[in-house]
């Protein structure tokens, strides 16, 4: 169980605001912090990692106190078992891939490194330096480096936002694979709805330092009074049966929409398929913005 309740004054682009967050979630879940840039997501992640100090509150991870302002407890980053993955990877440029992993590992267990290198498909790149790798490969190394210490929490700060869509999809699958295989507790910062939908068990939407909505991706993103009409090139994110019909969640650009499918549609459509979704517009809902 991870429980945190922290407050901190932040200075944003539109003046100062208070970061004030209460959040608790169970171990081995994947939680996403979703929100616009400047809303305090990254700061919250840095507070968890011990890189920034909140003014008040507490952080408890698996019954261990990491921070408690009234008891004056504040574990340094070194004492918190976190795995940190940055948007720009932050690999050590003067070390090879192998040396990056060896440096990260506390006690030397070469076999574990080799296993992880195999698992991430990095084995052949082990003697290369980070600057000679592609973005996707670098992020894979960063992920492996964060995981090798078996962290209590894996913190991913917009890890895929610098990558192209294709690489992104592949790495989303890998993050999910690692998350499940190693039983990790993962917090992801993202502002990509499709990514959030695909990866997370629960989402906390942050606006101006406060959590405004929280729940499963379906609850958070589909809670709206209107849905989009007309046609979109989309991806099927999930299909489920409700009574005698099928409901599919599709991602169109940055939007998530739920549509009804018939039995015959299901025979040809699979999760992950690229589809065109169209709706006749004879009853459009037009709302002035």
């Amino acid at each position: 169980m991870i429980r945190l309740s922290v407050t901190k004054k932040l200075s944003g682009a539109e003046g100062p605001f208070d970061l004030s967050v209460d959040l608790s979630f169970s171990s081995e879940s994947l939680v996403t912090l979703y929100g616009k840039s400047g809303s305090g997501k990254t700061t919250l992640l840095r507070i968890l990692a011990g890189l920034e100090k909140p003014e008040n509150g507490y952080i408890e991870v698996n019954d261990q106190v990491w921070f408690n302002s009234s008891a004056k407890i504040n574990l340094p980053p070194q004492k918190r078992k976190v795995g940190l993955v940055f948007q720009d990877y932050a690999l050590f440029p003067t070390m090879t891939i192998m040396e990056n992993l060896q440096f990260a590992q506390g006690k030397k267990e070469q076999r574990k490194i080799n296993d992880l290198l195999e698992l991430t498909g990095l084995a052949e790149l082990r003697e290369r330096y980070p600057s000679t790798l592609s973005g996707g490969q670098q992020q894979r190394v960063a992920l492996a480096r964060a995981i090798i210490r078996e962290p209590a929490i894996l913190l991913l700060d917009e890890p895929l936002s610098a990558l192209d869509q294709n690489t992104r999809t592949i790495l989303q699958d890998e993050i999910l694979k690692f998350h499940k295989r190693f039983g990790l507790t993962t917090i992801l910062v993202s502002h990509d709805k499709q990514e959030v939908f695909k990866l997370s068990d629960s989402v906390a939407m942050i606006e101006c330092g406060k959590i405004t909505r929280q729940g499963t991706p379906l609850e958070v993103f589909l809670d709206r009074t209107t849905s989009n009409k007309f046609s979109f090139a989309s991806t099927i994110l999930s299909i489920r049966k409700v009574d005698c019909i099928y409901l599919a969640v599709i991602g169109a650009g940055n939007e998530i929409v739920e549509v009804v499918l018939s039995e015959s549609d299901i025979e040809t459509l699979r999760v992950g398929d690229e589809v065109l979704v169209a709706s006749k517009a004879f009853n459009p809902i037009v709302v002035k913005l």
Partner: protein
């Protein structure tokens, strides 16, 4: 036969000065790159003074401080039992202060240029500050380390005014190459002056060329 003593003294002085400057400059530059205290501009200004002051001004103040009547000179004499002014130790001490900005500035710029998330990644991997500096930060700023060392060394080799004021051109003790050339020219021995000057010239040029070549290689990687 040409006397190599001044050249040897110059190298010894520059080598010692550079070694001491690494020891002082690294912590100082690290502190300045991390510090957000209000006194920082004041410290930076004091450190940079040797860049702008005429060497004679510095040399004059050093002479006052290093002499038997000066506070530093008096203290030195009670501890080490010899005079600080007009001694090789005095030259080293003066050179260290005089060349300090040439070491600290490149190192400070180097520390600032290493992305902060590299050290944060290292901390989150359980590494202490010291281990992070030694294994992550310093290897990432090799060209700054090289530049700082070479500038400090070269600047000490090229020192004249301060060395003249506090050294007093004593044969075999404080008469370094730059002073020797001055003395030779004054006594109209142009031929010997030429030899010293040419050696210093070639030596300095070679060092600087090597630095630029190595730095270019470091930058490419």
């Amino acid at each position: 036969m040409i006397n190599f003593e001044p050249l040897y003294l110059t190298l010894k002085l520059a080598g010692l000065t550079t070694a001491i400057l690494y020891a002082i400059g690294l912590p100082a530059a690290w502190f300045l790159s991390q510090s957000r205290m209000r006194m920082k501009p004041l410290i930076e200004a004091v450190l940079a003074l040797p860049l702008v002051l005429p060497p004679s001004v510095l040399g004059f103040y050093f002479l006052l401080a290093f002499s038997r009547q000066g506070w530093l000179g008096a203290a030195w004499e009670t501890v080490f039992d010899h005079q600080l002014a007009f001694s090789f130790d005095g030259l080293v001490l003066g050179s260290v202060i005089f060349s300090l900005p040439f070491m600290v500035h490149p190192l400070q710029a180097g520390f600032n240029a290493v992305p902060r998330n590299l050290s944060e990644a290292s901390y989150s991997l359980g590494k202490s500050k010291l281990e992070t500096i030694a294994k992550v930060i310093l290897p990432s700023m090799k060209s700054s380390l090289l530049t700082g060392g070479v500038l400090a060394f070269a600047h000490t080799v090229g020192e004249f005014g301060v060395v003249l004021m506090i050294g007093g051109s004593i044969e075999g003790k404080t008469k370094v190459a730059s002073i020797a050339i001055y003395d030779l020219v004054e006594s109209l021995d142009y031929q010997s002056a030429h030899i010293y000057a040419a050696i210093l010239f070639a030596f300095s040029f070679t060092i600087l060329l090597t630095v630029y070549l190595v730095n270019k290689k470091l930058d490419i990687r």
